[in-house]
């Protein structure tokens, strides 16, 4: 389903449809795609997590829905105003714009940003639009450095000349806002941890290896994932992902690769199915002769999570099954920083070049 180019019309449509029900004295009803695991499927063909076609009905006359029903229309109305004014606003601003006390109660229209954020996602899914198209933006989270230029409005930014900080990836990297040019890299390396990204940036790893390095600082936000997606799709750059060797790191990889459950309606834009996992794996410990004392024993949560992941469709390839089982067998995990035990430049001089050269990836 293509994302609508006319969010304003979709907003008005929502309003008119709802009002029409009210005028007919019917219980007003907003249809929303169900964004939970049970309505998600893994599309083998595209390698992406997709939203199923189950719809939920948010109705006014259901006491469990009434408040959310009101909030949904409030968010829609606020977005209409923002678009009309031609400004963009942060999702936090939106939260404050909506927040007021309901007369005669001690209750606010929204109590917390955690209440308004999911409503925005509901609306994106229901209207088949993007929050960026609704002129909403989130905090920046990801950073990028390498041989690439970024055209942002009238400014052109050379990401190879950003010193130690790198280019901060904005939440909206849609082509109408951000264009990439002069891409001279051979691949994109996505790193889970900012500290490791800084290490590689300091070593000018992207210069030596001729690549683009990106960090999402943990789970990457939408902007970062969209940027990875575009670099791959528009410039045919291979994408390699480097995370800790633990369940959380592998999960980050899976989100970059096939999208998340919550934003499954955006998987086409946010997922990069061709991404490959470069490391770390628990099997690297033997391969690279990493000292045993830098490994960390698995805790109960790790074991539980790893066992769950063994069952996920996207971890079904035998290489992943082998790695997850190996982790359970050796009963340890390790952080990226553990590589420093082999010397501070081990990661950039030895580990990554060897992995890329030998194409030692997990699917």
């Amino acid at each position: 389903m293509p994302i609508t180019e006319k969010p304003m019309e979709r907003l008005k449509e929502l309003g008119n449809k709802t009002l029409a029900q009210i005028e007919k004295k019917k219980n007003p009803d907003i249809e929303l795609p169900v964004r939970v695991l049970s309505n998600i499927y893994f599309d083998e063909k595209s390698g992406l997590v997709r939203l199923g076609d189950k719809l939920s009905h948010r109705t006014y006359l259901n006491v469990a829905h009434t408040r959310k029903f009101m909030q949904t229309l409030m968010v829609a109305a606020e977005c209409k105003k923002i678009i009309e004014q031609g400004v963009t606003t942060s999702i936090r601003d939106l939260y404050y714009a909506l927040k007021r006390t309901i007369p005669g109660t001690k209750e606010n229209t929204v109590e917390d940003q955690s209440e308004s954020d999911p409503i925005i996602e509901d609306l994106e899914a229901a209207l088949n639009t993007l929050r960026e198209r609704l002129n909403l933006k989130a905090d920046r989270k990801g950073y990028l450095a390498g041989r690439i230029k970024i055209i942002d409005g009238k400014d052109t930014i050379d990401a190879s000349k950003m010193g130690s900080s790198g280019w901060a990836i904005p939440s909206n990297v849609e082509p109408e806002k951000i264009k990439f040019a002069d891409v001279k890299a051979d691949y994109v390396l996505v790193i889970e941890k900012d500290a490791v990204w800084q290490r590689l940036n300091e070593d000018k790893f992207w210069d030596k290896e001729n690549c683009i390095i990106i960090t999402g600082k943990g789970q990457p936000d939408r902007g970062t994932r969209r940027a990875i997606n575009r670099l791959h799709n528009e410039f045919k750059l291979p994408v390699y992902v480097l995370t800790d060797a633990d369940a959380w790191g592998y999960y980050i990889y899976s989100v970059i690769k096939q999208g998340s459950i919550n934003l499954s309606f955006l998987s086409d834009r946010l997922g990069t199915p061709e991404a490959r996992f470069i490391g770390l794996t628990t099997q690297d410990v033997e391969k690279f002769n990493i000292p045993k004392n830098v490994t960390i024993k698995l805790n109960k949560g790790d074991i539980k999570r790893t066992n769950e992941m063994l069952k996920y469709v996207w971890f079904k390839p035998k290489e992943w099954q082998q790695e997850l089982n190996h982790m359970l067998k050796v009963d340890h995990k390790l952080e990226l920083e553990a590589l420093s035990a082999k010397g501070i430049k081990f990661i950039s001089d030895k580990y990554l070049p060897q992995k890329i050269k030998e194409k030692d990836f997990l699917p």
């Binding site: 907003l11 008005k12 929502l14 309003g15 008119n16 709802t18 009002l19 009210i22 005028e23 004295k25 019917k26 219980n27 007003p28 006014y60 006359l61 006491v63 009434t66 408040r67 029903f69 009101m70 229309l73 409030m74 829609a76 109305a77 209409k80 105003k81 309901i102 007369p103 005669g104 109660t105 209750e107 229209t109």
Partner: protein, 564 residues
Amino acid sequence: MIEGNAIDNGKVKTAQMVSGSAREIAISEFFEKNRHLLGYDNKIKALLIIVKEGVDNGLDATEEARILPDIYIKVEELEKEKYKIIIKDNGPGILKKHIPKIFGTLLYGSKFHRLRQSRGQQGLGISCAVLYSQLTTGQPTEIISSTGDGKTHRYKLKIDVKKNEPIIIDEDVLDGKDWHGTQITFQCEGLYREHKQSVLEYIKQTAISNPYANIIFDSPTGRFEFKRGIEKLPKEPKEIKPHLYGVEVGILARMLKESKTRTLSGFLTSEFTRVGKTIAKEIIKKAGILDDKGEAFMMISPRKVTDDQIVSLVKAVKETKLMRPPTDCLSPLGGHLIEEGLKKELNPEFVVAVSRPPAVYRGWPFQIEVGIAYGGSITEAKFMRFANRVPLLYQAGGCAITKSISGTDWRRYGVQSDKMPTDPVAIFVHMASVWVPFTSESKEAIASYPIIIKEIKLALQECARKLSVYLSGVRRAQYQAERRSIFERYAHETAVALSELTGKPIEKIETDIKDIAEKNIKTIELSEQATERLEKEMKEGENKKEPDKEKADKSVQSSPEKEV
């Protein structure tokens, strides 16, 4: 029987004492060493027990004479931890000749030898109170009583603990008083408190279980009045003979020795209920007590039955089907009286009570009654246990009533609980019986016979079902109000947003939303009422199908093993 051997021995020794036996010291030693068995373990409790003994006697006396009870109680602090306790009733009074014996002899009294529902069972309580006073302060107990003949007898008594006889310190006759009743004045050690297990709580609960009594209590902290709520006494209980299923070897041996009958057959038919000649013959034959011809030896003298034969007799009884004992010896309060009592003292918003049909444990008839009061002035869960209308304040944990309450699934009935209910409910459980199986002489907890627990649970469930219907009504009303308020609350902002999106006026949209909500609520309420009616009808249908307990009562003959 739960009745300990110590008491039986005491009784036997008492008889020996009168005839000058050398073992007479036993009775005083018994009480001095075993005060705790009768509940005198501490000073707070001692005060409670003395008041309780006096009030129990007063209520028994008035009820037996079919007089609506007026009870006056005064607890006055004389000096630190020393109290004067006055208990006065408007009963028939006590005949002059009986006064010293009743108050000055342990185990004297009419109640121990008969089987009739009453508060006292052992003839032990009031004389123990006299003895306790004397042991702790050295003071005699004063009794003033009149039978209404214009004469008032006044006694000051102590107990000769070695002889188990009254010592009359002072006696005189006062005149000019036109009254009947008894007033007792004790002076004893004690400690007055007003917590959960106190004199005050005992009196409060007594006022609930005896709503036909007027009680005035002058406490060290002021006067409490518990007004009569209903001008009607419960049905008068009848005396019955014991039932063979409840008789053990020791008791049977004693009864055989003391019996005035000439034959074993005569003994069985005249001393026990529900035993006719045919049954007597069957038992004797089963016990293997045979004559020369190998037939049941009906004519053997009760005093010639050997110990081995007594054991065989008890065994034979267990294998014989006997009619259940008659139940007219019981005097239940009845659902109405319980509800009145709870309403009068607790002022609840809802009250329900049920009185189960009589049942039998080990040959003793008993009847369970339960009342549940909810809300109103009740702010926390309260559990009240009663045996023959007497509140039980101690040893809740070991009591069949507590076990039955915690063994009931309260959540099923919409009552919040952590084993015991935690919602503001007051649960009243009464066991009426000619012989309440207490776990000890101090009469604080009822023994957990399975049949007793079962009866209590059935009564609790019946009350809880009614409470749950009430609660679901209350909760539904709350829910409806909540629903209405939710629809109202969010209408305005919803209208504002829709107005922004559509350009239509806010007011019109808001009115429309509220209209829809109102229409919807009415539809829902109507359908809920219909469902409720349907549920009610179904429930009533179910109730009719429930096995009728009275039928079980009539049909008798369950095997004794099952009953025990």
